[in-house]
Structures are given as structure tokens and as C-alpha cells.
Symmetry: C2
Subunit: 317 residues, 2 copies
């Protein structure tokens, strides 16, 4: 662990993800395109929140897929921003206060994911999702489209699951939380976008192989857990001092730890997953071909989540 | 409309789906295989319910896909029985009483759909789903597998949506109900199984074409609505005389109809959808090739739902 500017330690990823991370030359353009997309589809009411979200998402995806073409970055940024804005508007505490309303909103998105018009035409979130999926459909063959659409469904289901968990007091076991966290942090969707955005194709056997699955799993765990660490103080302040729903709190409850000890344990877990991810990246990159492309893509996914937590969105704002 | 044995009218489908419907010679074998599958995966506690469910599902899929090979029928029967048993165990009133418990159960299934082990290993429903999906994976190329898996996700999401709607008093608008009903009656999953089970393949343009989408939509509406009509008395009796959650009740509320008038209106809607479906079946069958195979498959899907409602599961049992 290394201390950071705030009061709490963060994992030391300097051995596994040392940075600086490659960044696409289209980063600023992607952020600007997001501003224009949100002018057409006003998903975020607050101007300040909108600017921060366009900035972190545009510059984030430019680190996720630094080699992607501008249209690919734009698609990835739009879908990721859509999920984040949907979560901000209807998920978390809003969803916990009225899970049925969240469930009905997600149902609208499910119709769009099936290429159907939602009842009543749907809201601006439905329209924006339809726009992004139309571009995905032009770029991605059916199998890839279906894989991304499944990941979006699972991300939305993750928000529904989280709202119910929060409504019930936020007491879920660590294994259950760990299994759902890749969906609620959207890393499964970002990973599913790698193939259509970067233009490689994993063979079924490679996709099902242990090294690929372990790499994806390690990156997914790392993404969720460092987000939990980085957002802990902000979310605790928002909740008036109540423990936020995340791995530090759940691990503390499960193990009888104080929060400092739980934080240290989560830092250690992050370092462990980062080490596993790096080992698999080295192994798969050496193998060459599509698995090497996939390993480099997952390296970018991990790097972008590591980069994310230094953004001002996490500075108690 | 024509009267049936019960007290209420049912739609007259004699012009559009006159029957008798073709039936696979493997019908009884499929029902027997389901009994053996449920011995390995005890999804249904009551022996009487288990026997009825194996019978209706085995003989039903034998009418859905009469030309399918035994392994294809078995797969289709297992997945359809799995969804029905899951709904009986965790959905409807049980789900409405504790939507969070249903949401957690569905989360387990989502992990299985992603080829992952659920936290704690999962329950017998997870194990049975994994078994069926493994066979689907052997039979279906990735695109088809993903299409079926998306439909299963949507069916499960439909149960979550329905549980929340029931918990809130069952007052949803007719367009919202109509949009979700294909998922809760599982017809979207059955339709997605047609290609891997029967071995034809729709081209993307054909799948997106108006005639194909209108046929699928008409069959989906018909399946849900005749089920609502056929199960009305049984569900009303179960609920101690309260109006069941279904199109007759919702249409009555929306239009200010008495239940007899609503029943007549739903019968007319069913006859209209059946007529639309038949016209598209004639049109697509004449076109030949994969769309003709798809039209014949959808004809079987419609026929099996029409056949279903005459089964003893709907005789107030």
C-alpha cells in the first residue's frame, strides 16, 4: 500500500500497472463528442455533473482502448456514459427507495435491447440507448452485438440487485457481492466492447480458456474493488457518515474488522488481483494472435479503472 | 368466439389455427425424459405437480417443434420446464411477497448464463440450468447460444417485473403489460430455440424484416393472451376471488369494462393476432428458404400455446 493525498491508503499497483498509461490522441475529441451527445439526449440535468461525466468518460475510454478509432471510442464512451447516467438517475439510493420504479425503467431498456419500441415510446434514456445500439449494430456482427447487449442487460440487472440489497440494509455476503460487482461497475460491458471496438475476434475455445477467464475475472475484481476504495469517503460523506455499500464495509462486517483493517485487506486483495492480471497479460501477450490482442485490451481496461480513481469525480465532489 | 367446456368464452381460432396440430413421434419419450431430468434435478416438490408439468411440457414441445430430433426436443423441454418451475417456486405471489429474494435467485441464474459458478455453488436451479446450457452450447453456435441466453435473461427479468407489479397492486397499463408478456409467458425463449433446435439460420436482414417481426409479435401476443384467458378462472379461484393479473383484468380497468366485456374484447384481440400470424405464415412460407422454415417454426409455437390451454394444468387444478 501507498498513501495517497486523502486520509486512507490505496493499493500499490506500481509493480503490476505502473503507468503512465497509453492514451488515445482522440481523448479530448471523445469528451467533446459526449457533450454533443448529451445535448441531443439530455441524460444529466446538472451542468456541473454533465461536464465531469463527459470528461472522465471521454478521457477514461481513451485509456481503455488507446488504439481504437474515433467512432469506436465514441460508441464505447456513449454506452459507458449511458450506464453511469442511468445509475445516477435511477439506481443506488433512488432505486433503493423505490425498487419497482427502477425495475420499470430497466424494462424499457430491455425492449430497446430487443430492438423494440418501448410502450409509450420510452424516455430519453431509451432514445439514447437506441441510438448507441444502432451504431453498435452497424459495427458489430450479430454475435458481438449480442455479447455486448447481454453485458448491458447484466449491468442493468446489477443495478436492480444493488437497489434491493440497499433497501434491505446492505447486508450481503462477500461472495455474493464479488459475483455481482463486475456488473455494477460496468467492467463486464467495457470488456465485451473490446472486440467490436478494436476489431479482433476470440475463438470460442480461447474465450473459454482458463487464462482468458482468469484475466477477465482478475481485471473485473480489481475494477470494482479499487472503485469501492476510491469512492468510500465520498459515499460515506453523502450518506451522513453511514458505511457505504462496498467491499470494505462488507469485509469488515464478515470478518469483524474495523474499517482501517478492512481497507488494508481490500488493498491487499487488489494488489493480489492486479498481480494475477499482470501474469496472465504477460502469458497471453507472448502467445500472440487474438488472445494477445485481448490481453492488451484487458490491460487497457484495468489501466482505465486505475486512472479513473484519480479523477476529480472521486474527490469528495 | 366459441364457448368451451368452462363458463367463459374462448377465442375462435378455427380459421387461423384449425388443428389438429402435428405432433412429434417422440412426445411420450420427451415427457419421460423430463421425469428423469427432474429426478436428477428436483425442481418441483409436489409429485402431482411434477407429473402434470412433465406431461404438459413434453407433449407441448412435441407440438412446438414436431420435426425436431429427440435431443432438440429434450433441450427445449428442459429449458421450458426450468423456467416454469422457477416461476412456480420463486415468481408470482412468492416473488411479490419478497421481491428481493426473487432478485437474488435470478442473480444466481445470471452467473450461470455467463458460464460462471454462482457464489456458494448455487442451488438445484443453478445446477439444472447449467446442465441445459451445456447441451445448448454443444448444439448451438455462439450467436444462437447468445440469442437463447438473452431470451432466458429477459424471461427471468419478466418474472422480476411481474413480482414488482403484483407487489404494487397489479395496476399497470395495457401497453406496458403487452410489452412484457412475451417474456413472462416464455414465448420469446421458445422462439429463440427454434433455430438451434430445428437447424435453420435466419440471415440478419430476414430477422429484422417487417414480416418476420410482425409474425413473431403476433404469435407472442397470442401466446400470452390466450394463456391469460385460459388461466383466469384458476387464478381467480387461487386468489380467493381477486381479479388475476392478466390482460382481461387490465383491459377492464383501462376501458371501464365489466369482466365479461373485457373477456370478449381479449377474445377478439386474440382472433385478430391469430389472423395476422396466419397471413404472415402464408406469405413467408411461399417465400421459401430459411424464412419459410422460420414461419413453420412460429406456426408450431402458436399451435403449442393453443394446445396448451386445453391441458388439465388449466382445469382449475
Amino acid at each position: 500500500m501507498t498513501p495517497r493525498t486523502g486520509t486512507r491508503p490505496m493499493p500499490d499497483l506500481s509493480a503490476s500497472f505502473p503507468g503512465p498509461f497509453p492514451v488515445s490522441p482522440h481523448a479530448a475529441d471523445t469528451a467533446g463528442q459526449l457533450e454533443r451527445w448529451l445535448a441531443a439526449y439530455p441524460l444529466v440535468a446538472s451542468e456541473r455533473a454533465r461536464a465531469a461525466l463527459c470528461d472522465i468518460t471521454g478521457h477514461g475510454v481513451a485509456r481503455t482502448f488507446p488504439a481504437a478509432d474515433p467512432a469506436g471510442l465514441e460508441l464505447c464512451a456513449d454506452l459507458l456514459l449511458w450506464l453511469t447516467a442511468f445509475d445516477d438517475a435511477y439506481g443506488e439510493q433512488t432505486g433503493a427507495a423505490d425498487p419497482g420504479a427502477l425495475v420499470a425503467r430497466v424494462a424499457g431498456a430491455v425492449h430497446v435491447l430487443n430492438g423494440r419500441r418501448p410502450p409509450g415510446g420510452g424516455d430519453v434514456f431509451c432514445a439514447a440507448l437506441a441510438d448507441a445500439l444502432a451504431r453498435l449494430g452497424e459495427r458489430a456482427a450479430p454475435e458481438r452485438f449480442l455479447r455486448v447487449a447481454a453485458a448491458v442487460r447484466d449491468s442493468l440487472y446489477g443495478l436492480v440487485w444493488e437497489a434491493h440489497a440497499l433497501a434491505a440494509g446492505g447486508r450481503v455476503g462477500v461472495p455474493e457481492y464479488r459475483a455481482m460487482r463486475p456488473h455494477t461497475v460496468f467492467v463486464a460491458t467495457v470488456t465485451a466492447l473490446a472486440e467490436p471496438v478494436l476489431g479482433y475476434e476470440l475463438a470460442p475455445a480461447a474465450r473459454a480458456s482458463s487464462p482468458v477467464r482468469e484475466l477477465e475475472s482478475a481485471v473485473a475484481d480489481l475494477a470494482g474493488w479499487i472503485n469501492d476504495l476510491a469512492s468510500y469517503d465520498r459515499e460515506r460523506a453523502r450518506a451522513g457518515g453511514a458505511e457505504p455499500f462496498g467491499l470494505p464495509t462488507l469485509l469488515a462486517a464478515a470478518e469483524g474488522y474495523g474499517i482501517d483493517k478492512a481497507f488494508a485487506a481490500v488493498c491487499a486483495l487488489c494488489e493480489e488481483e492486479a498481480g494475477k492480471a499482470r501474469a496472465r497479460i504477460v502469458e497471453l501477450t507472448a502467445a500472440g494472435g487474438p488472445v494477445a490482442a485481448h490481453a492488451r485490451a484487458l490491460e487497457g481496461v484495468a489501466a482505465s479503472y486505475v486512472w479513473h480513481i484519480g479523477h476529480r469525480r472521486y474527490d469528495g465532489g
